[in-house]
């Protein structure tokens, strides 16, 4: 797998650390149930998924990578900072 980092261009998978599903983070005052869903429960689809990838051996940016988990094709990669994952629900 090769990922096209918006800052660095196309790079090998080994430059990245994969954090897992890119989910909208519950707000600080969200109920416990929302945190349980966020931390543990997963849709786990066989298709395109959004994940957080950290460009550990490159620019150090967190990326929101869309990837097909059946074919391993990387569909897109954008900066996580601009993809509205943080904040209240």
């Amino acid at each position: 797998m090769r990922v096209t980092c918006p800052n660095c261009g196309e790079r090998d998978r080994r430059e990245f650390y994969v954090k897992g599903a890119a989910l909208v983070r519950p707000g600080a005052d969200a109920p416990v149930e929302a945190w349980h869903e966020h931390v543990h429960m997963r849709d786990n689809p066989a298709g395109d998924v959004h994940e957080l990838w950290y460009h550990e051996m490159g620019c150090g940016a967190w990326l929101n990578v869309c990837r097909n988990v059946v074919s391993h094709e990387v569909v897109s990669a954008v900066l996580a900072a601009g993809s509205d994952l943080g904040g209240a629900r």
Partner: protein
């Protein structure tokens, strides 16, 4: 058809014409007491123990492909009871005892080989962890012995003892650990279940689960509607999608775990050897191939094949720890789809929908669990109470945070197991 030495002799002298198929190929009935989704090791074992120990024989096992074509045919065949946290400890001990009587029980040659398993440690910290683990294994009633470097050298003189970064200091020896022929385990359970009247239905994909008023009614399949009083999931890496048919979300991500086998070689490795250095483990099949693997690829995947970085890591580990194997040629590699839970331990529990049961989250430990899982799951399905050896495999442990079983001590979150 019973297997025996006498039968083998007789068939050998009469052209082997008397052998018949090991199980029927029935048409699905319209209704069953229990429908099991998934005809792999765990699903077949569950059907077998339901029939044998609980007298429930009106069962269908629905398999979308062929029996044993999933993870039970895609693993590294290792059998062991060397877990140490309460919950896992008593369960894998129970499973080990079932393994030891399995071939007699099934009248089937599963090539069970208790050749001993050595977990190599490379530093003082790992040695202390092995001592702790060994004590836990002994306390659960199983066997563990701490070997020093001479103990390892005696048993595996071909290891690289002087690696600068990861010298071999010793090992924890688990004598009753070993390997079993993975396909034969599936076939033996299939035959045993079939002989007791269970319908094994292949090429039958479940496409929906019918739930009315919080109670399960049956399943939709590619071969028609099948009604059932109870429906039991045993779909391993596909658990998330099957559960979604009943409107459930699970604490599971599916990851790929690769394994490798070399060409057939003369006997060199007598044990199963696992290295704390890299999670790499290796054994030699009875056919001579060296079977080995190491980590997950560590990203979600349903591809049943991995990528090259983990191939490289595994080969580097082999070269570092067993350089004598450097010229062995790799025959093939494959990937299994692992149903990973946040704490790395499994779930055998009610689903929250009446009559629908969960058996999933086996992570990388599914094969050794096969008889124990089937046995405990059958108990839950038949009696609605957990089996005594599987009381801690609760679905709600993630919500409550109580009873997590994180063997690696890395924390109960998805990307760490």
């Amino acid at each position: 058809m019973r297997f025996s030495g006498w039968r083998v002799l007789k068939e050998g002298l009469t052209g082997n014409k008397g052998w018949t198929g090991h199980w029927r190929d029935p048409e699905p009935k319209r209704e069953y007491d229990v429908v099991i989704i998934g005809g792999g090791g765990h699903g077949l074992a569950t059907a077998y123990y339901l029939a044998k120990e609980h007298g429930i024989t009106n069962i269908a096992v629905l398999e979308k492909g062929y029996l044993g074509g999933g993870n039970v045919g895609r693993n590294t065949t290792i059998v062991r009871a060397n877990y140490y946290l309460p919950g896992n400890s008593e369960f894998y001990s129970h499973s080990m005892h079932l393994w030891e009587g399995l071939e007699q029980d099934l009248n089937y040659n599963a090539m069970m080989s208790q050749r001993g398993l050595m977990m190599i440690y490379h530093n003082d910290g790992q040695r202390d962890a092995m001592v702790r683990r060994g004590n836990a294994i002994i306390n659960q009633g199983d066997d563990a012995e701490l070997l020093d470097i001479e103990g390892v050298r005696q048993r595996a003189p071909f290891l690289n003892f002087d690696d600068n970064r990861f010298p071999v200091m010793g090992a924890l020896l688990h004598r009753r650990g070993g390997t079993a022929r993975h396909d034969a385990v599936a076939w033996g359970f299939a035959r045993g279940a079939d002989m007791r009247g269970v319908d094994l239905i292949q090429n039958c994909e479940v496409t929906g689960i019918d739930v009315e008023n919080g109670k399960v009614r049956g399943v939709q399949t590619s071969r028609g509607v099948i009604r059932a009083k109870k429906v039991a999931l045993a779909a391993a890496g596909r658990s998330g999608q099957v559960a979604a048919m009943a409107g459930l979300r699970l604490p599971i991500e599916s990851h790929v775990l690769q394994a490798f086998v070399t060409e057939g070689l003369k006997p060199i490795i007598n044990h199963v050897i696992a290295f704390a250095e890299s999670h790499m483990y290796i054994s030699q099949s009875d056919k001579g191939g060296l079977v080995f693997g190491s980590y997950l690829d560590f990203y979600n995947s349903y591809a049943a094949r991995g990528n090259l970085p983990m191939v490289e890591h595994t080969m580097e580990s082999i070269m570092a720890m067993v350089p004598a194997l450097g010229k062995a040629r790799l025959l093939r590699s494959w990937g299994g789809i692992m149903d990973m839970t946040p704490d790395g331990s499994p779930i055998i529990d009610h689903s929250g929908i009446e009559g629908l049961y969960l058996n999933c989250g086996w992570c990388y430990g599914g094969f050794k669990a096969t008889p124990g899982s089937g046995n405990a799951y059958a108990h839950l399905i038949a009696t609605d109470r957990p089996h005594g050896a599987a009381t801690k495999f609760k679905l709600d442990r993630f919500r409550s945070g109580y009873g997590l079983m994180d063997e690696e001590g890395t924390g109960a979150q998805h990307n760490l197991h």
